[in-house]
Assembly symmetry: C2
Homo-oligomer: 295 residues x 2
Amino acid sequence: MVSSEQRNAVLPDDAGPLGIICGGGNLPLVIADAASRRGRRVVMFALRGFAAVEVERYPCHWIVLGALGRFFRLLRQEGCRDLVFIGTLTRPRFGRFRLDLATIRRLPRIARAFRGGDDHLLAGIARLIEDEGFRMVGAHEIAPDLLLPEGPLGTCVPSEQDQVDIEWGLALLAATGPFDIGQAAVVAGRHVLAIEASEGTDRMLDRVVALRKEGRIRVPAGTGVLVKAPKPQQDRRFDLPTIGPETVEAVARAGLAGLAAVAGAAIVAEPQRVAPLAEERGVFVVGIKPTGAGA
Amino acid sequence: MVSSEQRNAVLPDDAGPLGIICGGGNLPLVIADAASRRGRRVVMFALRGFAAVEVERYPCHWIVLGALGRFFRLLRQEGCRDLVFIGTLTRPRFGRFRLDLATIRRLPRIARAFRGGDDHLLAGIARLIEDEGFRMVGAHEIAPDLLLPEGPLGTCVPSEQDQVDIEWGLALLAATGPFDIGQAAVVAGRHVLAIEASEGTDRMLDRVVALRKEGRIRVPAGTGVLVKAPKPQQDRRFDLPTIGPETVEAVARAGLAGLAAVAGAAIVAEPQRVAPLAEERGVFVVGIKPTGAGA
Protein backbone atom coordinates (compact mmCIF):
# COMPACT_ATOMS: atom_id res chain seq x y z
CA MET A 1 0.00 0.00 0.00
CA VAL A 2 2.73 2.44 0.98
CA SER A 3 6.02 2.66 -0.85
CA SER A 4 9.29 2.54 1.02
CA GLU A 5 10.21 5.96 -0.43
CA GLN A 6 7.23 7.38 1.42
CA ARG A 7 8.37 5.81 4.66
CA ASN A 8 11.89 7.11 4.23
CA ALA A 9 10.75 10.57 3.36
CA VAL A 10 9.26 11.05 6.79
CA LEU A 11 12.15 9.73 8.81
CA PRO A 12 15.23 11.71 7.90
CA ASP A 13 18.10 11.00 10.27
CA ASP A 14 17.99 14.47 11.72
CA ALA A 15 14.21 14.60 12.18
CA GLY A 16 14.43 15.23 15.93
CA PRO A 17 11.49 14.85 18.27
CA LEU A 18 7.98 14.91 16.84
CA GLY A 19 5.51 17.40 18.30
CA ILE A 20 1.89 16.23 18.29
CA ILE A 21 -0.76 18.92 18.68
CA CYS A 22 -3.53 16.85 20.26
CA GLY A 23 -7.24 17.36 19.64
CA GLY A 24 -9.80 14.97 21.14
CA GLY A 25 -10.12 11.20 20.74
CA ASN A 26 -7.48 8.47 20.77
CA LEU A 27 -5.80 9.23 17.43
CA PRO A 28 -3.09 11.43 19.01
CA LEU A 29 -1.96 8.43 21.07
CA VAL A 30 -2.15 6.10 18.06
CA ILE A 31 0.16 8.44 16.13
CA ALA A 32 2.45 8.87 19.15
CA ASP A 33 2.71 5.09 19.54
CA ALA A 34 3.52 4.69 15.83
CA ALA A 35 6.30 7.30 15.95
CA SER A 36 7.58 5.95 19.24
CA ARG A 37 7.76 2.38 17.88
CA ARG A 38 10.15 3.67 15.23
CA GLY A 39 12.36 5.14 17.90
CA ARG A 40 11.35 8.76 17.54
CA ARG A 41 10.92 10.88 20.63
CA VAL A 42 7.43 12.34 20.95
CA VAL A 43 6.23 15.46 22.76
CA MET A 44 2.49 16.03 23.19
CA PHE A 45 1.03 19.54 22.95
CA ALA A 46 -2.41 18.89 24.37
CA LEU A 47 -5.15 21.40 23.55
CA ARG A 48 -6.95 22.16 26.78
CA GLY A 49 -10.66 21.49 26.46
CA PHE A 50 -10.16 19.02 23.61
CA ALA A 51 -7.34 16.52 24.28
CA ALA A 52 -7.89 13.45 26.48
CA VAL A 53 -5.91 13.29 29.70
CA GLU A 54 -4.40 9.97 28.53
CA VAL A 55 -2.03 11.83 26.19
CA GLU A 56 0.02 12.55 29.32
CA ARG A 57 1.46 9.05 28.86
CA TYR A 58 4.03 10.91 26.77
CA PRO A 59 5.98 14.06 27.72
CA CYS A 60 3.19 16.61 27.55
CA HIS A 61 2.52 20.34 27.62
CA TRP A 62 -1.04 21.58 27.95
CA ILE A 63 -1.60 24.55 25.64
CA VAL A 64 -4.50 26.92 25.16
CA LEU A 65 -5.83 28.60 22.03
CA GLY A 66 -4.68 32.17 21.88
CA ALA A 67 -1.26 31.61 23.50
CA LEU A 68 0.88 31.20 20.39
CA GLY A 69 3.91 32.85 22.05
CA ARG A 70 4.16 30.18 24.75
CA PHE A 71 3.49 27.43 22.19
CA PHE A 72 6.35 28.54 19.91
CA ARG A 73 8.66 28.86 22.95
CA LEU A 74 7.85 25.33 24.12
CA LEU A 75 8.38 23.90 20.63
CA ARG A 76 11.85 25.47 20.42
CA GLN A 77 12.69 24.39 23.96
CA GLU A 78 11.78 20.77 23.12
CA GLY A 79 13.61 20.92 19.80
CA CYS A 80 10.48 19.89 17.84
CA ARG A 81 10.73 20.97 14.22
CA ASP A 82 8.16 18.50 12.83
CA LEU A 83 4.58 18.88 13.98
CA VAL A 84 1.46 16.76 13.51
CA PHE A 85 -2.01 18.06 14.26
CA ILE A 86 -4.46 15.26 14.94
CA GLY A 87 -7.71 14.64 16.82
CA THR A 88 -11.16 16.13 16.94
CA LEU A 89 -11.56 19.85 17.44
CA THR A 90 -14.70 21.95 17.53
CA ARG A 91 -14.36 25.09 15.50
CA PRO A 92 -13.56 27.69 18.18
CA ARG A 93 -15.39 30.95 18.39
CA PHE A 94 -13.06 33.65 17.21
CA GLY A 95 -12.52 36.28 19.91
CA ARG A 96 -13.51 34.04 22.79
CA PHE A 97 -10.02 33.23 24.09
CA ARG A 98 -7.37 35.29 25.88
CA LEU A 99 -4.60 36.30 23.55
CA ASP A 100 -0.89 36.66 24.25
CA LEU A 101 1.30 39.17 22.44
CA ALA A 102 2.48 36.75 19.72
CA THR A 103 -1.12 35.94 18.94
CA ILE A 104 -2.24 39.55 18.91
CA ARG A 105 0.53 40.40 16.45
CA ARG A 106 -0.85 37.75 14.08
CA LEU A 107 -4.50 38.66 14.57
CA PRO A 108 -5.21 39.94 11.04
CA ARG A 109 -4.00 36.63 9.57
CA ILE A 110 -5.95 34.61 12.12
CA ALA A 111 -9.10 36.61 11.46
CA ARG A 112 -8.72 35.98 7.71
CA ALA A 113 -8.31 32.25 8.38
CA PHE A 114 -11.61 32.25 10.26
CA ARG A 115 -13.52 33.63 7.27
CA GLY A 116 -14.29 30.38 5.45
CA GLY A 117 -14.59 26.64 5.94
CA ASP A 118 -12.55 24.37 8.18
CA ASP A 119 -9.84 23.66 5.61
CA HIS A 120 -9.33 27.33 5.06
CA LEU A 121 -9.01 27.80 8.84
CA LEU A 122 -6.59 24.91 9.35
CA ALA A 123 -4.46 25.83 6.34
CA GLY A 124 -4.24 29.45 7.52
CA ILE A 125 -3.14 28.45 11.02
CA ALA A 126 -0.67 25.91 9.59
CA ARG A 127 0.97 28.54 7.36
CA LEU A 128 1.31 30.78 10.37
CA ILE A 129 3.13 28.03 12.27
CA GLU A 130 5.34 27.13 9.31
CA ASP A 131 6.37 30.76 8.93
CA GLU A 132 8.05 30.33 12.33
CA GLY A 133 10.30 27.64 10.84
CA PHE A 134 8.31 24.56 11.87
CA ARG A 135 7.09 21.86 9.48
CA MET A 136 3.52 20.54 9.51
CA VAL A 137 3.48 16.82 8.72
CA GLY A 138 0.46 14.62 7.93
CA ALA A 139 -0.48 11.98 10.50
CA HIS A 140 -0.46 9.42 7.69
CA GLU A 141 3.19 10.27 6.95
CA ILE A 142 4.07 9.23 10.49
CA ALA A 143 1.79 6.17 10.52
CA PRO A 144 1.14 5.09 6.93
CA ASP A 145 -0.31 1.77 8.17
CA LEU A 146 -3.34 3.73 9.36
CA LEU A 147 -4.36 4.64 5.80
CA LEU A 148 -7.35 2.73 4.46
CA PRO A 149 -6.15 0.16 1.90
CA GLU A 150 -7.95 -0.57 -1.37
CA GLY A 151 -10.64 -3.26 -1.17
CA PRO A 152 -12.81 -4.55 1.66
CA LEU A 153 -11.75 -4.82 5.30
CA GLY A 154 -13.26 -8.09 6.45
CA THR A 155 -15.46 -10.35 4.34
CA CYS A 156 -18.56 -8.22 3.62
CA VAL A 157 -18.46 -6.63 0.17
CA PRO A 158 -20.67 -4.01 -1.54
CA SER A 159 -23.39 -5.22 -3.94
CA GLU A 160 -23.79 -3.84 -7.46
CA GLN A 161 -26.45 -1.42 -6.18
CA ASP A 162 -24.11 -0.34 -3.38
CA GLN A 163 -21.42 0.35 -6.00
CA VAL A 164 -23.82 2.66 -7.85
CA ASP A 165 -24.56 4.49 -4.58
CA ILE A 166 -20.84 4.76 -3.78
CA GLU A 167 -20.15 6.36 -7.19
CA TRP A 168 -23.07 8.73 -6.72
CA GLY A 169 -21.81 9.72 -3.27
CA LEU A 170 -18.25 10.28 -4.50
CA ALA A 171 -19.50 12.47 -7.34
CA LEU A 172 -21.61 14.48 -4.89
CA LEU A 173 -18.69 14.98 -2.51
CA ALA A 174 -16.50 16.06 -5.43
CA ALA A 175 -19.13 18.71 -6.26
CA THR A 176 -19.42 20.01 -2.69
CA GLY A 177 -15.66 19.86 -2.02
CA PRO A 178 -14.92 23.38 -3.31
CA PHE A 179 -17.33 24.72 -0.67
CA ASP A 180 -15.15 23.29 2.10
CA ILE A 181 -17.96 21.39 3.81
CA GLY A 182 -18.25 17.92 5.35
CA GLN A 183 -16.66 14.93 3.78
CA ALA A 184 -19.50 12.48 4.06
CA ALA A 185 -22.93 11.64 2.67
CA VAL A 186 -25.45 8.81 2.91
CA VAL A 187 -26.87 7.51 -0.38
CA ALA A 188 -29.49 4.78 -0.92
CA GLY A 189 -30.77 3.90 -4.38
CA ARG A 190 -29.11 7.04 -5.85
CA HIS A 191 -31.20 9.04 -3.37
CA VAL A 192 -29.11 11.25 -1.08
CA LEU A 193 -30.49 10.74 2.44
CA ALA A 194 -28.08 13.01 4.30
CA ILE A 195 -25.07 15.19 3.71
CA GLU A 196 -22.64 16.34 6.36
CA ALA A 197 -21.73 19.95 7.04
CA SER A 198 -20.68 21.13 10.51
CA GLU A 199 -22.46 18.42 12.51
CA GLY A 200 -19.89 15.65 11.89
CA THR A 201 -20.36 12.14 10.55
CA ASP A 202 -21.73 10.56 13.74
CA ARG A 203 -24.43 13.20 14.09
CA MET A 204 -25.36 12.77 10.44
CA LEU A 205 -25.77 9.02 10.93
CA ASP A 206 -27.85 9.62 14.08
CA ARG A 207 -30.11 11.72 11.86
CA VAL A 208 -30.56 8.82 9.45
CA VAL A 209 -31.55 6.61 12.41
CA ALA A 210 -34.10 9.20 13.59
CA LEU A 211 -35.56 9.90 10.13
CA ARG A 212 -35.94 6.18 9.56
CA LYS A 213 -37.78 5.76 12.89
CA GLU A 214 -40.14 8.59 12.01
CA GLY A 215 -40.84 7.08 8.60
CA ARG A 216 -39.27 9.96 6.68
CA ILE A 217 -36.69 7.61 5.22
CA ARG A 218 -38.37 4.47 3.97
CA VAL A 219 -35.65 2.50 2.26
CA PRO A 220 -35.47 -0.98 3.75
CA ALA A 221 -32.80 -1.78 6.35
CA GLY A 222 -29.55 -3.05 4.85
CA THR A 223 -29.60 -0.62 1.92
CA GLY A 224 -27.64 2.57 1.59
CA VAL A 225 -24.02 3.51 1.94
CA LEU A 226 -22.00 5.99 3.98
CA VAL A 227 -19.47 7.56 1.61
CA LYS A 228 -16.47 9.53 2.89
CA ALA A 229 -13.95 11.38 0.77
CA PRO A 230 -11.37 14.11 1.19
CA LYS A 231 -12.18 17.43 -0.42
CA PRO A 232 -10.61 17.68 -3.89
CA GLN A 233 -8.36 20.62 -3.02
CA GLN A 234 -7.70 19.53 0.54
CA ASP A 235 -4.26 19.75 2.13
CA ARG A 236 -4.00 16.11 3.17
CA ARG A 237 -1.84 16.94 6.16
CA PHE A 238 -4.96 18.03 8.04
CA ASP A 239 -8.28 16.51 8.80
CA LEU A 240 -8.30 13.44 6.54
CA PRO A 241 -11.61 11.56 6.82
CA THR A 242 -11.37 9.12 9.72
CA ILE A 243 -13.22 5.87 10.28
CA GLY A 244 -13.11 3.69 13.35
CA PRO A 245 -15.10 1.16 15.37
CA GLU A 246 -17.69 3.84 16.32
CA THR A 247 -18.21 4.60 12.63
CA VAL A 248 -18.92 0.92 11.95
CA GLU A 249 -21.36 0.81 14.88
CA ALA A 250 -23.11 3.98 13.67
CA VAL A 251 -23.39 2.63 10.10
CA ALA A 252 -24.97 -0.56 11.46
CA ARG A 253 -27.34 1.42 13.71
CA ALA A 254 -28.39 3.52 10.71
CA GLY A 255 -29.38 0.32 8.90
CA LEU A 256 -26.95 0.88 6.04
CA ALA A 257 -25.25 -1.80 3.96
CA GLY A 258 -21.79 -0.42 4.62
CA LEU A 259 -19.30 2.40 4.30
CA ALA A 260 -16.89 3.36 1.57
CA ALA A 261 -13.97 5.79 1.67
CA VAL A 262 -11.20 6.67 -0.75
CA ALA A 263 -8.26 4.27 -0.34
CA GLY A 264 -5.09 6.00 0.82
CA ALA A 265 -7.07 9.12 1.74
CA ALA A 266 -8.80 8.06 4.95
CA ILE A 267 -7.40 7.15 8.34
CA VAL A 268 -8.57 3.95 10.01
CA ALA A 269 -8.36 4.36 13.76
CA GLU A 270 -7.80 0.93 15.33
CA PRO A 271 -7.74 -1.10 12.07
CA GLN A 272 -7.38 -4.35 14.04
CA ARG A 273 -10.82 -3.76 15.60
CA VAL A 274 -12.63 -2.41 12.50
CA ALA A 275 -12.54 -5.54 10.30
CA PRO A 276 -13.91 -8.06 12.88
CA LEU A 277 -16.52 -5.57 14.06
CA ALA A 278 -17.72 -4.97 10.48
CA GLU A 279 -18.10 -8.73 10.03
CA GLU A 280 -19.96 -9.05 13.32
CA ARG A 281 -22.39 -6.27 12.36
CA GLY A 282 -22.74 -7.50 8.77
CA VAL A 283 -21.69 -4.22 7.15
CA PHE A 284 -18.96 -3.72 4.58
CA VAL A 285 -16.02 -1.33 4.96
CA VAL A 286 -14.32 -0.75 1.65
CA GLY A 287 -11.47 1.36 0.32
CA ILE A 288 -12.30 2.71 -3.14
CA LYS A 289 -9.59 3.15 -5.76
CA PRO A 290 -9.06 6.87 -6.10
CA THR A 291 -10.04 8.33 -9.48
CA GLY A 292 -9.15 11.68 -11.05
CA ALA A 293 -11.70 14.01 -9.51
CA GLY A 294 -12.98 11.97 -6.59
CA ALA A 295 -9.61 11.30 -5.03
CA MET B 1 -43.84 40.49 -10.86
CA VAL B 2 -46.01 38.33 -13.04
CA SER B 3 -46.93 39.25 -16.58
CA SER B 4 -50.54 39.25 -17.71
CA GLU B 5 -49.67 36.68 -20.38
CA GLN B 6 -48.75 34.31 -17.59
CA ARG B 7 -52.07 34.86 -15.85
CA ASN B 8 -54.01 34.36 -19.06
CA ALA B 9 -52.08 31.27 -19.97
CA VAL B 10 -53.44 29.44 -16.97
CA LEU B 11 -57.05 30.41 -17.33
CA PRO B 12 -58.18 29.41 -20.81
CA ASP B 13 -61.95 29.66 -21.19
CA ASP B 14 -62.31 25.91 -21.47
CA ALA B 15 -60.06 25.01 -18.57
CA GLY B 16 -62.77 23.17 -16.64
CA PRO B 17 -62.47 22.26 -12.99
CA LEU B 18 -59.03 22.16 -11.38
CA GLY B 19 -57.98 18.98 -9.60
CA ILE B 20 -55.70 19.50 -6.63
CA ILE B 21 -53.73 16.48 -5.43
CA CYS B 22 -53.30 17.41 -1.78
CA GLY B 23 -50.24 16.59 0.30
CA GLY B 24 -49.94 17.88 3.87
CA GLY B 25 -50.02 21.45 5.18
CA ASN B 26 -52.27 24.38 4.27
CA LEU B 27 -50.92 25.09 0.77
CA PRO B 28 -53.55 22.93 -0.99
CA LEU B 29 -56.25 25.15 0.53
CA VAL B 30 -54.34 28.32 -0.36
CA ILE B 31 -54.20 27.19 -4.00
CA ALA B 32 -57.84 26.09 -3.94
CA ASP B 33 -58.89 29.50 -2.58
CA ALA B 34 -56.85 31.28 -5.27
CA ALA B 35 -58.44 29.25 -8.09
CA SER B 36 -61.86 29.55 -6.53
CA ARG B 37 -61.59 33.35 -6.21
CA ARG B 38 -61.15 33.47 -9.98
CA GLY B 39 -64.31 31.49 -10.47
CA ARG B 40 -62.78 28.12 -11.21
CA ARG B 41 -64.38 25.02 -9.77
CA VAL B 42 -61.97 23.02 -7.59
CA VAL B 43 -61.96 19.32 -6.73
CA MET B 44 -59.63 18.06 -4.02
CA PHE B 45 -57.90 14.68 -4.32
CA ALA B 46 -56.68 14.27 -0.79
CA LEU B 47 -53.83 11.81 -0.20
CA ARG B 48 -54.79 9.70 2.77
CA GLY B 49 -52.11 9.85 5.46
CA PHE B 50 -50.82 13.20 4.24
CA ALA B 51 -53.62 15.72 3.49
CA ALA B 52 -55.26 17.71 6.30
CA VAL B 53 -58.95 17.01 6.90
CA GLU B 54 -59.66 20.74 6.29
CA VAL B 55 -59.31 20.20 2.52
CA GLU B 56 -62.84 18.76 2.71
CA ARG B 57 -64.03 22.39 2.63
CA TYR B 58 -64.02 21.79 -1.15
CA PRO B 59 -65.53 18.85 -3.03
CA CYS B 60 -63.12 16.12 -2.05
CA HIS B 61 -62.12 12.54 -2.84
CA TRP B 62 -59.73 10.73 -0.53
CA ILE B 63 -57.25 8.72 -2.56
CA VAL B 64 -54.55 6.25 -1.62
CA LEU B 65 -51.16 5.59 -3.13
CA GLY B 66 -51.27 2.51 -5.32
CA ALA B 67 -54.84 2.99 -6.57
CA LEU B 68 -54.17 4.76 -9.87
CA GLY B 69 -57.16 3.16 -11.57
CA ARG B 70 -59.67 4.70 -9.18
CA PHE B 71 -57.82 8.04 -9.30
CA PHE B 72 -57.97 8.25 -13.10
CA ARG B 73 -61.65 7.25 -13.03
CA LEU B 74 -62.49 9.98 -10.50
CA LEU B 75 -60.59 12.61 -12.51
CA ARG B 76 -62.58 11.76 -15.65
CA GLN B 77 -65.83 11.64 -13.73
CA GLU B 78 -65.18 15.14 -12.31
CA GLY B 79 -64.04 16.44 -15.71
CA CYS B 80 -60.66 17.59 -14.31
CA ARG B 81 -58.08 17.90 -17.04
CA ASP B 82 -55.73 20.28 -15.21
CA LEU B 83 -54.05 18.99 -12.09
CA VAL B 84 -51.92 20.62 -9.42
CA PHE B 85 -49.88 18.63 -6.95
CA ILE B 86 -49.11 20.60 -3.79
CA GLY B 87 -48.35 20.03 -0.12
CA THR B 88 -45.85 18.06 1.90
CA LEU B 89 -45.34 14.40 1.19
CA THR B 90 -42.97 11.93 2.75
CA ARG B 91 -41.26 9.79 0.19
CA PRO B 92 -43.33 6.59 0.33
CA ARG B 93 -41.72 3.22 0.63
CA PHE B 94 -42.05 1.48 -2.67
CA GLY B 95 -43.89 -1.79 -2.32
CA ARG B 96 -45.62 -0.87 0.91
CA PHE B 97 -49.05 -0.06 -0.51
CA ARG B 98 -51.79 -2.19 -2.05
CA LEU B 99 -51.87 -1.89 -5.81
CA ASP B 100 -54.84 -1.90 -8.16
CA LEU B 101 -54.66 -3.25 -11.68
CA ALA B 102 -53.93 0.11 -13.34
CA THR B 103 -51.02 0.59 -10.94
CA ILE B 104 -49.66 -2.92 -11.43
CA ARG B 105 -49.67 -2.41 -15.19
CA ARG B 106 -47.46 0.65 -14.72
CA LEU B 107 -45.16 -0.93 -12.14
CA PRO B 108 -41.96 -0.99 -14.22
CA ARG B 109 -42.26 2.77 -14.83
CA ILE B 110 -43.08 3.44 -11.19
CA ALA B 111 -40.14 1.32 -10.04
CA ARG B 112 -37.84 3.28 -12.37
CA ALA B 113 -39.17 6.56 -10.96
CA PHE B 114 -38.26 5.39 -7.45
CA ARG B 115 -34.62 4.86 -8.42
CA GLY B 116 -33.33 8.40 -7.83
CA GLY B 117 -34.04 11.63 -5.99
CA ASP B 118 -37.37 13.29 -5.30
CA ASP B 119 -37.48 15.26 -8.55
CA HIS B 120 -36.88 12.12 -10.52
CA LEU B 121 -39.70 10.42 -8.63
CA LEU B 122 -42.18 13.30 -9.04
CA ALA B 123 -41.35 13.81 -12.71
CA GLY B 124 -41.78 10.09 -13.42
CA ILE B 125 -45.18 9.96 -11.72
CA ALA B 126 -46.24 13.20 -13.47
CA ARG B 127 -45.37 11.80 -16.91
CA LEU B 128 -47.39 8.72 -16.11
CA ILE B 129 -50.42 10.90 -15.28
CA GLU B 130 -49.94 13.10 -18.34
CA ASP B 131 -49.83 10.05 -20.57
CA GLU B 132 -53.45 9.51 -19.55
CA GLY B 133 -54.34 12.87 -21.12
CA PHE B 134 -54.21 15.03 -18.01
CA ARG B 135 -52.09 18.17 -17.66
CA MET B 136 -49.88 18.83 -14.63
CA VAL B 137 -49.88 22.54 -13.80
CA GLY B 138 -47.60 24.40 -11.37
CA ALA B 139 -49.20 25.79 -8.21
CA HIS B 140 -47.60 29.15 -9.06
CA GLU B 141 -49.44 29.17 -12.39
CA ILE B 142 -52.72 29.03 -10.49
CA ALA B 143 -51.67 31.50 -7.79
CA PRO B 144 -48.83 33.66 -9.14
CA ASP B 145 -49.22 36.07 -6.21
CA LEU B 146 -47.70 33.39 -4.00
CA LEU B 147 -44.33 33.62 -5.76
CA LEU B 148 -41.62 35.40 -3.76
CA PRO B 149 -41.01 38.85 -5.31
CA GLU B 150 -37.55 40.38 -5.76
CA GLY B 151 -36.27 42.38 -2.79
CA PRO B 152 -37.03 42.27 0.92
CA LEU B 153 -40.38 41.41 2.46
CA GLY B 154 -40.69 43.83 5.38
CA THR B 155 -38.04 46.31 6.47
CA CYS B 156 -35.07 44.10 7.51
CA VAL B 157 -32.44 43.84 4.78
CA PRO B 158 -29.31 41.68 4.44
CA SER B 159 -25.92 43.20 5.35
CA GLU B 160 -22.90 43.07 3.04
CA GLN B 161 -21.63 39.99 4.88
CA ASP B 162 -25.06 38.38 4.53
CA GLN B 163 -24.92 39.06 0.78
CA VAL B 164 -21.61 37.19 0.57
CA ASP B 165 -23.15 34.25 2.45
CA ILE B 166 -26.21 34.30 0.17
CA GLU B 167 -24.01 34.11 -2.94
CA TRP B 168 -21.99 31.29 -1.38
CA GLY B 169 -25.16 29.39 -0.54
CA LEU B 170 -26.62 29.85 -4.03
CA ALA B 171 -23.39 28.60 -5.62
CA LEU B 172 -23.39 25.57 -3.30
CA LEU B 173 -27.01 24.73 -4.13
CA ALA B 174 -26.25 25.09 -7.85
CA ALA B 175 -23.46 22.52 -7.39
CA THR B 176 -25.61 20.04 -5.45
CA GLY B 177 -28.67 20.52 -7.68
CA PRO B 178 -27.72 17.83 -10.21
CA PHE B 179 -27.76 15.30 -7.36
CA ASP B 180 -31.44 15.98 -6.75
CA ILE B 181 -31.05 16.72 -3.05
CA GLY B 182 -32.48 19.37 -0.72
CA GLN B 183 -32.90 22.92 -1.76
CA ALA B 184 -31.56 24.66 1.30
CA ALA B 185 -28.35 25.39 3.20
CA VAL B 186 -27.25 27.53 6.14
CA VAL B 187 -24.13 29.65 5.61
CA ALA B 188 -22.37 31.95 8.09
CA GLY B 189 -19.16 33.77 7.22
CA ARG B 190 -18.75 31.63 4.09
CA HIS B 191 -18.80 28.60 6.37
CA VAL B 192 -21.52 26.09 5.50
CA LEU B 193 -23.18 25.12 8.79
CA ALA B 194 -25.81 22.75 7.41
CA ILE B 195 -27.10 21.40 4.13
CA GLU B 196 -30.47 19.80 3.60
CA ALA B 197 -31.02 16.35 2.10
CA SER B 198 -34.04 14.24 3.05
CA GLU B 199 -34.67 15.78 6.48
CA GLY B 200 -36.41 18.96 5.23
CA THR B 201 -35.68 22.61 5.96
CA ASP B 202 -37.26 22.76 9.42
CA ARG B 203 -35.27 19.78 10.65
CA MET B 204 -32.09 21.28 9.26
CA LEU B 205 -32.75 24.53 11.14
CA ASP B 206 -33.48 22.57 14.35
CA ARG B 207 -30.04 21.03 13.88
CA VAL B 208 -28.45 24.49 13.75
CA VAL B 209 -30.24 25.35 17.01
CA ALA B 210 -28.96 22.15 18.66
CA LEU B 211 -25.39 22.48 17.37
CA ARG B 212 -25.28 26.04 18.59
CA LYS B 213 -26.48 25.03 22.07
CA GLU B 214 -23.81 22.32 22.25
CA GLY B 215 -21.13 24.80 21.21
CA ARG B 216 -20.37 23.02 17.92
CA ILE B 217 -21.44 26.10 16.00
CA ARG B 218 -19.88 29.17 17.54
CA VAL B 219 -20.83 32.02 15.22
CA PRO B 220 -22.54 34.75 17.20
CA ALA B 221 -26.35 35.01 17.14
CA GLY B 222 -27.69 37.21 14.36
CA THR B 223 -25.18 35.97 11.77
CA GLY B 224 -25.77 33.42 9.06
CA VAL B 225 -28.34 33.00 6.35
CA LEU B 226 -30.78 30.30 5.29
CA VAL B 227 -30.57 30.06 1.50
CA LYS B 228 -33.23 28.26 -0.56
CA ALA B 229 -33.14 27.67 -4.29
CA PRO B 230 -34.80 25.39 -6.83
CA LYS B 231 -32.57 22.75 -8.39
CA PRO B 232 -31.12 23.97 -11.70
CA GLN B 233 -32.81 21.29 -13.80
CA GLN B 234 -35.98 21.16 -11.72
CA ASP B 235 -39.43 20.94 -13.29
CA ARG B 236 -40.91 23.98 -11.58
CA ARG B 237 -44.39 22.50 -11.59
CA PHE B 238 -43.44 20.36 -8.61
CA ASP B 239 -41.95 21.00 -5.26
CA LEU B 240 -40.80 24.62 -5.56
CA PRO B 241 -39.04 25.75 -2.37
CA THR B 242 -41.65 27.04 0.07
CA ILE B 243 -41.29 29.58 2.85
CA GLY B 244 -43.92 30.55 5.39
CA PRO B 245 -44.39 31.88 8.91
CA GLU B 246 -42.89 28.69 10.42
CA THR B 247 -39.77 29.18 8.30
CA VAL B 248 -39.37 32.71 9.66
CA GLU B 249 -39.83 31.43 13.22
CA ALA B 250 -37.29 28.64 12.64
CA VAL B 251 -34.76 31.09 11.15
CA ALA B 252 -35.14 33.34 14.20
CA ARG B 253 -34.83 30.36 16.58
CA ALA B 254 -31.65 29.28 14.79
CA GLY B 255 -30.18 32.72 15.50
CA LEU B 256 -29.70 33.56 11.83
CA ALA B 257 -29.78 37.03 10.28
CA GLY B 258 -32.39 36.04 7.72
CA LEU B 259 -33.42 33.94 4.79
CA ALA B 260 -32.96 34.34 1.06
CA ALA B 261 -34.64 32.52 -1.80
CA VAL B 262 -34.67 32.98 -5.55
CA ALA B 263 -37.34 35.51 -6.58
CA GLY B 264 -40.05 33.98 -8.75
CA ALA B 265 -38.88 30.48 -7.85
CA ALA B 266 -40.15 30.08 -4.29
CA ILE B 267 -43.67 29.96 -2.92
CA VAL B 268 -44.56 32.16 0.04
CA ALA B 269 -47.33 30.52 2.03
CA GLU B 270 -49.37 33.24 3.76
CA PRO B 271 -47.39 36.25 2.43
CA GLN B 272 -49.54 38.63 4.48
CA ARG B 273 -48.21 37.03 7.68
CA VAL B 274 -44.58 36.57 6.64
CA ALA B 275 -43.55 40.23 6.32
CA PRO B 276 -44.86 41.47 9.72
CA LEU B 277 -43.53 38.35 11.45
CA ALA B 278 -40.06 38.86 9.93
CA GLU B 279 -40.05 42.44 11.25
CA GLU B 280 -41.20 41.32 14.67
CA ARG B 281 -38.42 38.70 14.88
CA GLY B 282 -35.82 41.03 13.37
CA VAL B 283 -34.84 38.72 10.52
CA PHE B 284 -34.79 39.55 6.82
CA VAL B 285 -36.70 37.66 4.13
CA VAL B 286 -35.39 38.53 0.69
CA GLY B 287 -36.07 37.49 -2.89
CA ILE B 288 -32.82 37.30 -4.85
CA LYS B 289 -32.74 38.21 -8.52
CA PRO B 290 -32.28 34.97 -10.41
CA THR B 291 -28.96 34.62 -12.25
CA GLY B 292 -27.90 32.22 -15.00
CA ALA B 293 -26.88 29.16 -13.02
CA GLY B 294 -28.41 29.85 -9.63
CA ALA B 295 -31.95 30.46 -10.84
